[in-house]
Every structure is written in C-alpha cells, then in structure tokens.
C-alpha cells in the first residue's frame, strides 16, 4: 500500500483519539495495535507485550521512579523551609529580595530534582504567602516560582534527558552536564529581570523594613540550611561524575538521601512515606506508559516506513534551508506542542522522528538534545496549557486568576527564549562542559 496513504490513516487515527480525550499513552497504544492489525501483520502484535516488558525493565528508565520518588521526598523533607529562612536573613534588605530568593531556591531544588514542578510544590507554599504579606506584585511572585521551578529538567538531573537518552543512546551524564550552563543562565536572567523591574517600580517588590537587621552570628548559623541540599546534590551529581555509579544509582542515592534528610528533620513517618509513594507511583506510571506507547508507535511508524517519509520531508527542509531551517522547524513544532501537551509526551512523540534527521544532517546531537530540552521546559510555562501554570493555580489563593498567572509568566518565558537563542548561536554554552568530562554512562 502507498506509504502516503497509510501515513495519513495512522496519523489521523492518532489525532482523532487525542482530540476526543483518550490519554496520550493509550492513543499511542491503540493506534499502534489497530494499525498493526490493519497494515502490518498480526504476528507483529507480540510487540505490544514485549514492549511493556522492555520498557519497564530498561536499566536507564529505572532512574525515572527514583527521581520521581526523590522529588516527593524532597517535598516532605522540610529542606525548603530552612533554606528560605536563610536567604531571607542574607538578602532580605534588597529590593525584590523575595523574588530573587524564590528563583535561587528553585534553582537549588532544580539541581536536586529532575522534574519540572518540584520547585512549585516545595517552595511555592512557603514563598507565596510571604510575598503576599509583603505586598509583592503578582507579576513578580507568580512567575518567579513557576519559571524557576520549570528549570528542573534543564538543570541536572533531568527526567526529560533520561527519556532523550533512552531514545537516542546519548550519554545521560553528558546531557546532564550540557544543561547546567543554559539552566543557570536562565536563573540569572530571571533574577536580572526581577532586580530591574523592582528598581524601576520599587512598589512591586519592597525590601524588608530598614529596622529589621540580623547579626552576623544569626546569618552564619542560618547557613546550616545549605548543608542538606549540598549533601543531596553531592550524592546525586558527585557520585555520577566521579564515576562511582550510574545515573540510575545516583538517583537512588538521592532518594535515599532525601529520606535521611526527612528523618533528620523528624518528618519521616510512615504516613509521609506512604503519601509520597502514592504520588510517585502516579507520576511514574504516567511517564512509563507514555514511553511504552511511544515505543510501540515508533515501531509501527518504522515498519510502515512512515518515519522514512517524514525523514524525507525533514531532509528536504535541510537541503533547502540548511541546519538553521531544520532546527527552526523542529523548535517551532516543539514550542507549539508545548502550549498544549506535557513535556514527556512531546519527547516521546517527536524524538524518534527528529533524532535520525539531526544525525543525518551532521548536527551535534548532544547540542540538539539540550536545545530540545530547553524548548520542552519552556513548554511547561507557555499558555494556555503549560503544566506549571496549573500547578501554580493549585497553590494560589482564590483571588489569583489564570490570567494573572499567564501575564506574570510571559517575561520569564521571554528570558528563556533568549537563552535558547544564545545557546543556539553559541553552542559552546551547551557543549563545552560535557566535552571536559569523561563519563561512560
């Protein structure tokens, strides 16, 4: 049968199921199975069982439940409260200090967690009420937390990068390292934005009243709060880069460390653990079934040569408009999808098609992986359906509308787009650090 025709049927079936509200994972699974029957061969149906087995026993993906569990334990660990008090003592006198604090704290959480909403759930409930109390403008406070938190999968570690590595065979360690500078640049960009805005309009982020001062002794003791996060970052990234263990084991060490931190803060009860586990299993299954569906779907597209025909289109674009054109098209597609759908789903849907085209075009795959991750992360924030915006809505008081959140997020998204362009123009931002390390994972 004509490839164009089957392509049309397969894709329209997928989009039909997607639009009528079947979860993405099962749109992929259903389309794959039904089209395997129709266009491929019933004997290929065994793939449906074999894929569940492959994906849920794949060593690299074992890192996913560990990172998810780590993130849930972080929420229970009480690390965020202590950090918050420390930053307030040190920089409370600056204008916009709470906004800056939120971004810095999110950045620290991002360096521990590989998910995009950890900052919101750990830091939001502490920082938001405080900002409201000190009469911070919503424009600063909402965006600072949502955007700072979104950097989670860009600043290592990262669940998105693990999925990318699973599809492409790129080194997890190198991908992680590549995200560090772009991620930190975004954080710095956010802080610059807050500082500038608060200097132009001091009312948006008032400083602590000048009467309130802290002694140096108080300031120095508060530094204890940094110990736990540093310990966790060391356990995860240190163990991976020193070659002691694989990223999967690093994630497990982090999760174990977070349990210890919770225990030290006297928060490790069975109830907390059970609660964290229940949240974790939901997120883990969400991601894993997407991966199962995505894999089945990719297998079908390959067998029906749909991937080839899509590749021809991409090759044509590459020949006509060069690397710039090819990456632009891909980035626009990811950016557009980011407005509507979750990052893990975007990765699963696009990577199998994009990656071979990138390799064929001779573009550095690692660099592309970082650009891709940045774009996916931006998707957590872009209205109307950025995931982080909904998480924000969940923790804000009633009088904050979805429009308030949309409005506050735009400048932060612009900062991220700017950093994306910088990384595009100066690939060294993403490729220099991975080039200096030698990891076998």
């Amino acid at each position: 049968m004509d490839t164009g025709f089957t392509t049309a049927i397969v894709l329209s079936m997928f989009f039909f199921l997607l639009i009528i509200g079947l979860p993405v994972a099962f749109c992929l699974i259903s389309t794959s199975i039904i089209c395997t029957l129709a266009f491929w061969s019933p004997s290929a149906l065994y793939m449906s069982a074999a894929t569940v087995w492959d994906q849920s026993t794949k060593d690299i993906y074992l890192a996913i439940p560990m990172f998810v569990f780590l993130a849930s334990m972080l929420e229970a660990s009480g690390i965020a409260e202590n950090l918050y008090k420390m930053f307030d003592k040190w920089i409370g006198r600056l204008r916009g200090s709470l906004g800056i604090t939120s971004v810095l704290m999110c950045t620290i959480m991002d360096a521990i967690s590989g998910l995009g909403a950890s900052g919101i759930v750990t830091i939001g409930p502490i920082a938001l009420p405080e900002m409201t109390k000190r009469k911070y403008s919503k424009q600063i406070s909402l965006g600072a937390i949502a955007a700072g938190s979104a950097l989670g999968p860009l600043i290592p570690p990262s669940v998105i990068m693990i999925i990318i590595a699973g599809y492409t065979g790129l080194s997890v360690g190198k991908l992680f390292a590549g995200g560090l500078f772009p991620g930190l640049l975004c954080s710095i960009g956010f802080i610059v934005y807050i500082v500038v805005l608060c200097h132009v309009r001091p009312k948006m982020g008032p400083a602590l009243a000048s009467g309130v001062t802290f002694t140096w002794a108080e300031k120095l003791t508060s530094l204890k709060a940094v110990v736990a996060p540093m310990f966790l970052i060391g356990a995860i990234m240190g163990s991976i880069y020193s070659g002691i263990c694989t990223p999967t084991e690093g994630a497990a060490l982090g999760a174990f460390g977070a349990m210890i931190c919770a225990a030290l803060n006297r928060r490790l009860t069975f109830k907390e653990l059970y609660q964290a586990s229940k949240v974790s299993i939901k997120v883990t299954c969400m991601v894993m079934w997407l991966l199962i569906g995505g894999n089945l779907f990719a297998g079908l597209l390959n067998a029906l040569q749909v991937t080839d025909s899509m590749n021809q289109v991409l090759t044509y674009i590459h020949e006509a408009y060069g690397n710039f054109g090819l990456i632009s098209v891909m980035m626009l597609i990811v950016f557009f999808m980011g407005m509507f759908i979750d990052g893990a789903a975007i990765t699963v849907l696009t990577m199998p098609v994009f990656f071979p085209a990138i390799v064929n075009a001779g573009i550095d795959p690692l660099w592309f992986g970082i650009l891709f991750t940045m774009n996916v992360v931006i998707g957590y924030l872009t209205p109307p359906f950025g995931m982080n915006l909904f998480y924000m809505k969940g923790i804000t008081p009633q009088d904050v509308s979805m429009m308030d959140i949309y409005r506050s997020i735009i400048p932060y998204v612009l900062v991220m787009v700017l950093v994306l362009f910088l990384t595009w123009v100066f690939p060294e931002l993403a490729t220099w650090l991975p080039g200096t390390i030698d990891v076998n994972t």
Binding site: I29, S32, A252, K278
Partner: protein, 168 residues
Amino acid sequence: MESILRAIDKINETASNAVCLLFAPLAVISTYEVFMRYVMNRPTTWVWDVAVHLFALIVVFGAGNTLRQGGHVVMDVMITRLPPGFRLVLNLVAYLFFIFAVGIMVWQSAIFAWRSVEVGERTSTLLGMVVYPLKICIFAGIVLLWLEGVALFLRDVRSFAGARPETR
C-alpha cells in the same frame, strides 16, 4: 453492576497502594549496592535483578489506578469546551478503542508469559532468576488496566442511559 465496578476500582487501588510501598526499598537496595561495590569492594549479585523486578511491578500494577485517578496525560483543549452530553459520547468512543487495543495486549501478554513458563526462562545475569513470575505479573497488571478501562466505559454508558449522573 455497581458492586462489580466498585470491586474493580478497589482491586486497582489496592494493587497500586501495595506496589507503591516498593519505592523506598528500591532506593535502599540500590544505595546498598553502591555502598557494597564502592566502599566494601564486594558488589552484590542480586540487587540489579531485584531492582528491575520492583520497577516493573510498580509500572504495571500502578497503571490501572493511575487511569482511575485521571493521572495519564490527556489533551483536553477540545473536549472541555464541549457540552457534557457530547463529551460523554466521545468518551465512549475513545474507550471502545482502549478496550479493543488493551484487550489485545491482555491476550498477547498471556502468550508472552506462557512462553516464558514453558521454557523456564531465566535472566542472563549472575543470579539467573526465573523470569516467568514477573511476566505473569505483567499480564496480571495489563488485565487490571483493561478492567479499569472497562469500568470507566460502563460508568459512562450508564450515565449516558441517564440512570444517574456519575461523578468520578
């Protein structure tokens, strides 16, 4: 009918809540392995196999309950704007596809598990654990997922028939 649907929910919830208790042991044994290998210089033979088993159990036995709680990613831009009646019809259509496709997965995973039982398949790692118990679990997990899809479908059928508005 109601009692059957409730039983399906209950089984899925219990299965999920039971396997979610495996997260902490998973973190602990992996840490133990790193400790034994790096500090004691005596890597274990069993952690890797066991960890993979725990992982797979989490993935397959959590699926149904995640579906029940609406935890899987949905693209709901379109459907949330439609009138409830129309949405219900679309939902019915969607879950017909689900029931058919995941039904085939049930059948295929049964064959997959059975082949493993027949040959007494073992892992290629040092421990050489038998593989079929896990493959049977994968089959069981997919059955639970399928049942949950059927339950969701039947509830929608009932609301469509107008028996009583269902909230889930």
